[in-house]
């Protein structure tokens, strides 16, 4: 895909074994990780090649040579395989990403064999201490030369120590971009927004705080993802101080022949596609739309997938509307509390006034009643505030999942584009083969030694070979992404079920059974609604006398 291939910069410690077969790549090993949170035992394996589920230490088998006996497949992860995988596949490989540096590391020293008893590698990520910094290399012309850095601290799960780095937002963007390229098909959490007018608003304290919080949320989500949370990229980001240097991407070999043909090195675009390829695939998609179907054995599965996708879209629509209504609800709840507070204040002032100006006993009595009422109203207002914080926290789940939907869209888009690549290459192959046939037919008719023609045929045959390889690669890639989609959808279903139940429970419980009181740091036995009822029941009791006339 890429014209300019970034060479993997390591030396394979041993000769390359034969390339992995299709079958091996088609299945992804599922990982049985302990999840202390819930029963969710589905987590994504970084493990590309093994067909047998293998318990993975710290989640990255490619970093560490596995004993050869642990797998029936000859292509099980050992550093040589990792190297070959890296070469063959994937900047897109889940395992591939790790493979390169992993192999290098394996060549040197395997990483600390901390057994991941927990699902995540990094815990307690905190983003703090925003500081202004100055970029001495930036010229006056290139916009603002000052930027903000954030201190990012993380702990290794299982007590492996603490990491501290300083990063700027540009680094976060780089990480996000890299993850999008490297983990196609996975539900990669979306990164915080860039602001268009970055230079101008930067001075505002509020903006920095907002960004700090957004970065923190983002990193935590990354860390919580079963695959990304243990990725090289995240490690590099969280652990390696100094200038951010992400492990380099490896491009598909498949890209090479196309680039050669066009005879120029094309720059690497986002997602690793060059413009040339893009246009061809666009043409291909048009062909497809017009009925030029590429035979796909995956049509059946696609139907299932398309159904799923349609359902998901409907779900997203409802989720979006629910999230909006939840926001409105929270605001309405907040407003009622505020107004109750203002009412209390107004009556308190009235009560004080009546007390000062009192001339007769009935006035005195009334002033006392007013003050009692005002006190109750203020209490109710305070209760409401605490309740509202809880509400917002729980209903936020709806909002979070909108973010997840974004990640899902991207993952599905990865799938479509991978399929498109396959289809483009297929049609390339088809036309190349047709050309070759024509040339051969023509040359067989004449007996003259036509050097140029035979040379052309040779070249063409070579191109065909390379294209075939590329197509195989692309197909493998597509299948891999499909599998990523599938397993992520499974994970999504489980987590969604769990999270939404938790949300509803939280929402209901805080009204009825127990609220967590941050001041006393305890869960209180009665909930918001009951407390409210008590406050007003008392007042109703005490003012019962006035109702007797009725």
């Amino acid at each position: 895909m890429m014209a300019a291939v970034n060479h993997v910069d390591f030396d394979p410690p041993s000769p390359r074994p034969p390339p992995p077969t299709m079958d091996e790549l088609e299945t992804l090993a599922l990982d049985d990780d302990d999840d202390d949170d819930d029963d969710d035992d589905d987590s994504f394996s970084p493990h590309l090649l093994s067909t047998v589920p293998v318990a993975i230490d710290s989640g990255d088998p490619l970093l560490r040579p596995c004993p050869p006996s642990s797998s029936s497949s000859s292509s099980l992860s050992s550093s040589p395989t990792a190297a070959s995988v890296a070469v063959f596949e994937s900047q897109n490989g889940v395992g591939g990403g790790r493979g390169r540096s992993g192999a290098a590391a394996a060549a040197a020293t395997p990483p600390s064999p901390s057994r991941a008893a927990v699902a995540t590698e990094f815990v307690g990520i905190v983003v703090s201490e925003p500081e202004k910094a100055h970029d001495p290399t930036a010229s006056l012309m290139s916009g603002s030369s000052t930027f903000v850095t954030y201190l990012i601290t993380a702990r290794a799960a299982g007590g492996g120590g603490e990491f501290r780095v300083r990063r700027r937002f540009r680094d976060v963007v780089a990480l996000a971009d890299r993850l999008a390229e490297a983990y196609r098909g996975l539900f990669v959490p979306a990164r915080p927004d860039k602001s268009v007018v970055e230079g101008q608003v930067m001075q505002k304290h509020e903006f920095v705080e907002q960004r700090r919080a957004a970065i923190e949320r983002y990193l935590r989500r990354l860390a919580a993802h079963p695959a990304i949370g243990r990725s090289e990229e995240l490690r590099a980001f969280l652990r390696a101080p100094g200038r951010l240097s992400l492990p380099p991407l490896v491009n598909e070999i498949a890209a090479k022949p196309i680039a050669k043909e066009s005879g120029a090195a094309k720059p690497m675009g986002k997602g690793g596609r060059d413009l040339f390829r893009m246009f061809r695939e666009l043409k291909q998609s048009v062909v497809n739309d017009w009925g030029g179907r590429v035979s796909a054995p995956e049509v059946d599965e696609d139907k299932e997938f398309l159904e799923r996708k349609a359902k998901l879209q409907e779900w997203e629509k409802q989720l979006s509307s629910s999230s909006q209504q939840a926001e409105t609800l929270a605001k309405a709840q907040q407003n009622i509390g505020e107004t109750m507070g203002n009412l209390g204040l107004a009556f308190m002032k009235l009560g004080k006034f009546e007390t000062e100006e009192t001339t007769c006993s009935s006035q005195r009595i009334r002033a006392a009643e007013i003050k009692k009422f005002a006190t109750a109203a203020l209490k109710a207002s305070r209760l409401n505030r605490g309740f509202n914080a809880n509400i917002v926290k729980y209903l936020d789940t709806l909002h979070e999942y909108l973010g997840v939907m974004l990640a899902i869209h991207n993952a599905f888009a990865d799938r479509s584009s991978a399929l498109l690549t396959v289809q483009t290459l297929s049609s390339d192959l088809f036309s190349l083969e047709a050309r070759a046939e024509k040339l051969e037919a023509a040359s067989s008719k004449t007996f003259s030694l036509d050097r140029t023609r035979s040379h052309k045929i040779e070249e063409l045959k070579e191109t065909i070979k390379i294209t075939e390889d590329a197509k195989s690669c692309a197909l493998r890639e597509y299948e891999r992404i499909k599998e990523n989609n599938r397993s992520e959808l499974e994970r999504f279903d489980k987590e969604r079920h769990r999270d939404f139940i938790a949300m509803m429970k939280g929402f209901v419980i805080c009204q009825v059974a127990a609220i967590y009181n941050p001041q006393t740091e305890k869960k209180e036995k009665i909930g918001y609604s009951e407390k409210m009822a008590n406050v007003w029941a008392t007042v109703a009791e005490e003012t019962n006398g006035y109702a007797r006339g009725k």
Partner: protein, 403 residues
């Protein structure tokens, strides 16, 4: 009905025509009905009077009255019973569209009912002839009386600066060389004035917040309803047990929405309206204060005039003028008027003091009741909310344990 509590007499249903039993006079204002054509439509009310007092012809009488009739009665009372705090009327509606909304009609009806019952239970006001006319005359006669006298006796808004309304005022301040109108300024009265004016401000603020609170309840109700609907739709996408729970949550939300709208109405009728009524009552006091100021000024002016007249007479006496006799007669007249004015003023002062005590007592009772209704409503609402959510909890538990 409020009538029973307003009236110091016993409950209705007593033996009619037997004043030896507890005398009673209970009135209710009911059944608002829209009458008239589209251009001149208005609301009419049924006024039902039940009494055993001999001054009333029938023991039970039903008449049809409209807002202008109540207004007429109010203005007549204000004219004739200076010094008393006339029970307040609900405001005239200025916004056309709002005039026939159910809420407006309901709150107005309630306020009119309160008005007429307060008049009926006031020891002096209930003796008014105009009250009897209002309660007993047929609709035609009532209309004639109203249109004849409205405008003539129409009371202008109470205003302490308004001086020249009174027909009795013969001498203008300019002639007497005064620049500023005479104002009563005893420390006691100053205190009272200050109290009344500040009280109005405080009450207006409280009423404003009450109004907002009603609105907030309505808004919360609406958003609960919308949220419930959205969650139900989301649940239908989910299917299985999770979907069912979503659906339950949505239903409960919609249920609570209804309760919130109910509470909003309750707050409006039983909390905000009483506060509005309080504000109106204070404004009625201000009107009486304006009357008092007028009476005071008259008294001062006449006293001044009498003094001048006396000086004039002495001058004439010295001059042996033939105008002396005439002047003496005029003097006698003026003296009588002055004494009358003084009596009127002192009467107003006395009445005001009595009325103030009554006012304070009444308002303590009114506010106590309003607080009670507020607290009852809020407690019930909170309990309903708790019940609704508690109901769902076991289903949620079942769902999470099965997942």
């Amino acid at each position: 009905m409020i009538s029973t509590e307003r009236s110091p007499f016993g409950p209705s249903g007593q033996n009619p025509r037997s004043p030896s039993e507890n005398p009673f006079l209970t009135i209710s204002v009911t059944d608002p009905v829209k009458l008239g054509n589209s251009v001149q439509s208005y609301i009419s009310y049924r006024v039902i009077t039940k009494t055993n007092l001999p001054e009333f012809e029938d023991s039970e009488k039903i008449v049809i009255r409209r807002y202008s009739d109540f207004e007429w009665l109010h203005d007549r009372l204000a004219e004739k019973y200076k010094g008393f705090f006339i029970p307040p009327l609900p405001e005239k509606s200025t916004v056309e569209k709002f005039r026939f909304s159910a809420e407006f009609i309901e709150t107005r009806r309630q306020a009119l009912d309160m008005f007429i019952n307060r008049v009926a239970s006031h020891p002096e006001l209930r003796k008014s002839e105009d009250l009897k006319i209002f309660l007993q005359e047929d609709e035609e006669k009532m209309e004639r009386i109203r249109t004849l006298e409205i405008g003539y006796f129409k009371k202008k808004p109470a205003d302490l600066i308004q001086i020249f309304k009174d027909v009795g005022s013969k001498v203008s301040d300019v002639v007497l060389g005064k620049e500023k109108p005479m104002e009563e300024s005893t420390p006691e009265y100053e205190k009272l004035k200050h109290y009344i004016f500040e009280l109005e401000d405080h009450l207006a603020e409280a009423q404003k917040q009450a109004f907002r609170l009603v609105k907030r309840h309505r808004e919360l109700g609406q958003s609960l309803s919308d949220f419930g609907k959205a969650i139900k739709l989301l649940g239908s996408c989910e299917g299985d047990s999770l979907g069912k729970v979503f659906s339950e949550l949505g239903s409960k939300s919609e249920l609570l929405s209804i309760k919130l709208q109910k509470e909003a109405h309750n707050l409006l009728m039983n909390f905000e309206e009483p506060l509005k009524d309080y504000v109106r009552a204070v404004q009625s006091i201000k009107a009486t204060m304006a009357d008092r100021a007028n009476a005071f000024r008259q008294q001062c002016e006449l006293a001044e005039t009498v003094k001048l007249k006396m000086i004039n007479i002495e001058k004439l006496a010295l001059m042996h003028s033939e105008k002396h006799g005439e002047a003496e007669m005029e003097y006698k007249e003026l003296k009588a008027e002055s004494e009358e004015a003084t009596r009127r003023f002192e009467n107003i002062v006395k009445l005001m003091n009595e009325e103030l005590v009554r006012f304070q007592e009444q308002k303590t009772a009114d506010m106590g009741l309003a607080f009670h209704e507020f607290a009852k409503g809020q407690a019930k609402l909170a309990n309903d909310i708790a019940d609704a959510w508690r109901n769902i909890l076991p289903k949620l538990e079942a769902c999470s344990s099965s997942s």
